[in-house]
Amino acid sequence: MDKLEVKICFGTTCFVMGASGLQELKDIIPAKYHDRVSVAGSLCLGNCYKRSEYSKAPYVEVGGEVVEDATVEKVLAAIDAKLAANER
């Protein structure tokens, strides 16, 4: 099975609006999911321009799905949901 890909947006908007606090996901995710999930910081993914702008930043993409107002807990929940759906 392909790895589930998590992209943390470190564009200016996301960083200023709270992605700075999501950097610990880079340690948490490999420790929790090992090789099932990959995680990387990213240049601006453009969600702040495409979607409802900066008010819902920071954005994180989990397997292509956008998590808005992202927090560590929300991202982990989204990963769990994706992994469960993939197994079905």
């Binding site: 908007t13 709270g18 950097q23 240049l43 702040c48």
Partner: protein, 479 residues
């Protein structure tokens, strides 16, 4: 510091909307619409009783964002008029903080309280442990007489049911100098004769009711007029934005600044002079000296600790030397300090070489509004390179390490954050005229140093790590 919970997110969003309004065709009207744009008709009401209250609070936050005091708002003046007044203003208002009474929860007064968990036990350890006779029984349960209670908390630790709790008032509890207190209506008020600008109340209030008065519009006006505007970035800015500090420099040039200087270069000057001053004082037999770079500490010494004043270094702050140089190198320019905290707003207002002070959150809002992608920027070099020691000034232990690198006789100790306790401790050292096993006291207003300032964007631990990477690439300070 920052995890960007909801109230901080809101404050940042207001600043971004203000900067965007400034760039729009009709600034005044766009400002008037901010509360309506953020809470449009029919939208869910996330925090307050109704959409009208939400908008009223947002309106007040906009007033602070425009740099005005919310306390003096008569509620009749339109945001258009405030926007106009902000553009017309020559100097920012002197008091850097303002309280949004609509958002203030009017938290119940600080006291020790017996909760419903009390079982009315037979042993009654709470009663026997209380030295002040403050605990009685009513309806089979313990009650505390607030007039007798000294808040020693002995009963809290004695209760086997953990039934006794302390009700806290975050702003009051965190203010090291009792400058924020309740008024007759139970709402918080700041006494600016006592306030040292440490910013603890801003960070502590979970309702986001304490605001910095922003100078963002003042800066935007200067940028728009095409004035030569030179930014001076605090050493603590490293790690607060994505990318390297040299990418950040380019991003700031794109945002409209004419030049960007590191205040770390001013810190190098402070270190050199402070090391000389320290050696001279030691030679004269002084028991200890304290550093003088933190604005909140300088205010503390000036207003509340006359005893410590003889021991405070008279060397200027890094900002003082950096601003002096910027004004010399760029005559007639507008100088803007980019700050981690509110205390430096007070210092900036008093320093003739500092025209404005913008905090990290406000700079972030400017980048977002102008769509400046820092990670897309090339690196660009600073005219004056700063040393490793100067760049470490924003971290606890960094200032003493810098002075110690030039004055090996220094034996430092650290005040890592100004609190009620550390104020008492400092007063004790001053009155005794000695500080055990130490001759240099480094005082940081915030825990962790400037990286823990009230307006920082990144978590302290992460920021310290990123600064460490820059320090490893930087040259040592030379005398």
């Amino acid at each position: 510091m920052s995890d960007s919970p909801n109230h901080i997110h809101l404050k940042k969003e207001i600043l971004i909307r203000l900067a965007r309004a400034f760039a729009s065709d009709d600034f005044e009207e766009s400002v008037r619409l901010i509360p309506f744009d953020m809470r449009p008709k029919g939208c869910p009401v996330p925090y307050r009783c109704c959409i009208h209250r939400e908008r009223a609070i947002l309106r007040s936050r906009v007033i602070a964002g425009l740099g005005f005091s919310i306390e003096s708002d008569d509620e009749r003046t339109s945001l258009n008029a405030y926007a106009r007044a902000a553009l017309a203003r020559e100097r920012p208002e002197p008091e850097p903080l303002t309280i949004l009474s609509d958002a203030c929860n009017g938290c119940p007064p600080n006291r020790i309280f017996v909760t419903d968990l009390c079982q009315g036990c037979v042993a009654r350890p709470c009663q026997s442990v209380c030295k002040f006779g403050a605990i009685g029984m009513e309806d089979g349960r313990s009650v505390i007489d607030p007039a007798k209670c000294k808040k020693c908390k002995m009963c809290m630790s004695a209760c086997p049911y953990h039934a006794i709790a302390q009700i806290t008032v975050p702003c009051e509890d965190n203010c090291p100098v009792s400058a924020i207190q309740k008024d007759e209506q139970g709402l918080a008020r700041i006494d600016f004769k006592k306030c040292i600008g440490c910013g603890k109340c801003v960070s502590a209030c979970p309702f986001g009711a304490v605001h910095e008065k922003s100078q963002l519009v003042d800066l935007l006006s200067k940028l728009k007029k095409g004035r030569e505007v030179v930014a001076m970035v605090a050493p603590a800015i490293v790690g607060q934005f994505p990318g390297t500090i040299r990418q950040l420099r380019t991003a700031m040039l794109r945002a409209g600044f004419s030049d960007v200087a590191e205040v770390a270069s001013g810190a190098d000057e402070t270190s050199r002079r402070e090391a000389v001053e320290f050696a001279a004082r030691m030679k004269e037999g002084a028991p200890f000296m304290t550093t003088s770079c933190c604005a909140a500490y300088n205010n503390l010494a000036a207003i509340h600790l006359p005893e410590i004043r003889p021991y405070v270094s008279s060397t200027g702050t890094p900002l003082h030397y950096a601003a002096e140089r910027v004004k010399k190198d760029h005559p007639g320019c507008t100088s803007v300090f980019i700050s981690p905290c509110v205390a430096k707003k007070i210092e900036g207002l008093a320093d003739p070489n500092v025209d404005y002070v913008i905090n990290f959150e406000e700079l972030g809002a400017l980048f977002v509004a102008l769509k400046v992608e820092i990670l897309d920027c090339e690196e660009s070099a600073f005219t004056v390179e700063s040393s490793k020691q100067g760049r470490g000034f924003g971290i606890t232990h960094g200032v003493a390490a810098a002075i110690g690198s030039l004055a090996p006789e220094a034996h430092p100790c650290y005040v890592n954050g100004i609190t009620k306790d550390s104020v008492r401790q400092l007063r004790g050292f001053a009155l005794k005229g000695s500080c055990p096993d130490c001759n240099l006291i480094e005082v940081m207003g915030c825990e962790g140093g400037c990286v823990g300032g009230n307006a920082t964007i990144n978590k302290t631990k992460v920021a310290v790590k990123i600064i460490g990477e820059l320090l490893a690439q930087s040259e040592d300070l030379k005398a």
